[in-house]
Amino acid sequence: MPCRILIADDEVAIANVVARKLQNAGLQTIVATDGQEAYERALAERPDFVITDLQMPGMSGLELCERLTAELDAPIPTILLTAKGFEIDAMTLTHLPILRVMTKPFSPSELLANVREALGIGSAT
């Protein structure tokens, strides 16, 4: 069964481009455009991996990660995308399954490489 990755970003263009990059690499994607939607879909569809924006209206990426970690038995490894990486408290990250913080603008290829590395899957090409 292919890996399913939840992408949460209120910037639809970003969510779509990340989804396209992952799909081209043979991964399955679920796209949500705010924190609440991402939370609900994660509970319903149990993705293997989460890529989320930090600043989203309603529920932030950190809050999403905290709530999913609290509610699910197994934490979902997560990559956090943010336009202001320097404002994240390092201590918060140690309690959460956040593998990496990538600052915007980011390279989709680099993001894909990080996802692959985290999931332990090699390059398809």
Partner: protein, 478 residues
């Protein structure tokens, strides 16, 4: 016998002179030095008298009688000096001459000491007036001033300090600073300065008064007053308190602004960067997909440009770089123009846009272009945040001394927690962010144009799910 009489007589004369000398000094409050000098003069006269006595013993009685009469007449007339005739060139004449010179010297000294005393009194008055002036200045300045002495007693506090610490300073009743000021943090600053200020006589420290929402930031400038020949004793501490709460708030707002702007600019930039890389890497598998990516890049570039333009516009407006050209103008015309411009967009969303304008032309004194832009921003927001099939109504009426412009929509509405903040720069309600793209600067511009440029007021009334009414109050021209 004659010699003894002469000596007694002379002593009497000298005594009279002394009396005359001392009389003016008795009630004049002369300093001790002047009194001592006068007494010294008296003593000197007495010595001269003794010498004179021996000389007089050889002088004919008539001449001594003459001198005596002369002296008594001087006492009666309250005169000083020229006690003895200088006409004779014998010993008595020379003595008279010497005594007279001495008396006029004493007279000059007494007169001078009178002048000095008067001058000192004037100086005291001037000093007192200066002290009162300085105290008045200190009391009036907006920075708080607190002065303590070497023992920690409050010597001076101005009105600003009284306001800051909530006490009343009484110059007549000295009391320890702790009795007037209870803030431990501030007391520690002053007391520490009093104890260790010899090594660092000038200090500037930041002090936070209170906590939470009520907290105020102060820059406290502390100086010690030192005395002693080697400046090795602290005789007091002067603390000046400058309120920097607002400065810090402005600095924080600036930093927030920069942070928000960079975040807002990074969003479209991130899309441009990602889609470009996708194209370069050949991830667009079809021509249609390529066109789609290029379209996104174009849209995001425009978005970025619009954002930069908005920021520049608002910043130019705020800094007063845009010349304001005010004339008496009819609000109704501006509203009609704005409604006309927005109608095509409203039609696209099947929104009914009505301009219910009074037949009377309400006039305001304002800058047409700026007011038009402000109204356009409000109406365009209404179109953005009203779902398809909704309704927008623009109306105007007179309320007290204001021309009021209402833009009412049947849109998504603004939650109460956001309503107060929608006019802030970059503040976007979480609902608005979901429903439509925007810079978060449009309403900030409206607020600036209406309130700062035109002296009016903006307000919003909203019901989530039902809609909002944005109100612009502009001072009416009578």
């Amino acid at each position: 016998m004659r010699r003894a009489a002469a000596v007694v007589l002379l002593f009497l004369g000298v005594g009279v002179d002394l009396h005359l000398l001392l009389e003016p000094l008795r009630d004049s409050g002369q300093p001790a030095a002047v009194k001592a000098m006068t007494l010294g003069a008296g003593l000197a006269l007495a010595v001269l008298g003794v010498i004179g006595g021996f000389l007089i013993a050889r002088v004919p009685k008539e001449r001594i009688d003459g001198v005596t009469d002369h002296l008594e007449s001087m006492v009666r007339r309250g005169m000083l000096g020229l006690a003895i005739s200088e006409a004779e060139s014998d010993a008595l004449g020379r003595l008279g001459h010497a005594i007279n010179r001495y008396l006029s010297f004493v007279k000059e000294e007494v007169e001078q000491s009178h002048l000095d005393a008067k001058e000192r009194q004037i100086q005291m008055k001037v000093l007192d007036a200066e002290k009162r002036h300085i105290e008045a200045v200190i009391r009036a300045i907006s920075d708080g001033v607190v002065v303590t002495d070497a023992f920690g007693d409050l010597v001076l506090a101005n009105a600003a300090a009284e306001g800051t610490f909530g006490f009343k300073f009484d110059p007549a009743a000295r009391r320890p600073i702790e009795e007037a000021i209870t803030d431990k943090g501030f007391l520690a600053l002053v007391n520490d300065m009093r104890e260790t200020g010899l090594f660092t006589p000038h200090r500037t420290v930041e002090w936070i008064q209170g906590a939470g929402e009520q907290a105020r930031s102060w820059r406290v400038i502390l100086n010690t007053v030192v005395e002693g020949k080697r400046h090795d004793r602290i005789s007091g501490v002067v603390a000046v308190l400058h309120d920097v709460t607002k400065e810090k708030e402005i600095a924080r707002m600036k930093s927030d602004f920069v942070s928000i702007v960079s975040h807002e600019l990074k969003a479209p930039l991130a899309s441009i960067r990602a889609y470009t890389e996708m194209l370069v890497d050949g991830e667009a598998r079809s021509e249609a997909e390529q066109r789609e990516y290029l379209h996104v890049i174009g849209t995001e570039t425009d978005r970025m440009n619009r954002l930069i333009e908005s920021i520049l516009n608002l910043s130019r407006l705020e800094s007063g770089l845009v010349p304001v050209n005010k004339t008496d103008l009819a609000v109704t015309e501006i509203l009609r123009d704005a409604a006309d411009v927005m109608t095509p967009q409203a039609v696209q969303k099947s929104i009914r846009l009505e301009a219910d304008l009074a037949p009377v032309f309400f006039r305001v004194h304002g800058d047409r272009d700026m007011l038009y832009q402000a109204v356009l921003n409000v109406v365009s927001n209404a179109v953005k945040y009203t779902p398809e099939g909704g309704q927008i109504r623009i109306s105007t009426y007179l309320d007290d001394s204001s021309v009021v412009v209402d833009v009412a929509d049947t849109g998504y509405g603004i939650p109460p927690e956001d309503a107060g903040r929608v006019f802030e720069k970059f503040y976007r309600s979480r609902h608005s962010a979901k429903e439509a793209k925007g810079s978060g600067l449009g309403l900030a511009l409206v607020k600036h144009v209406v309130e700062v440029v035109h002296g009016g007021r903006v307000a919003v009334e909203s019901d989530v799910g039902k809609g909002s009414i944005f109100r612009l109050y502009l001072p009416a021209v009578r």
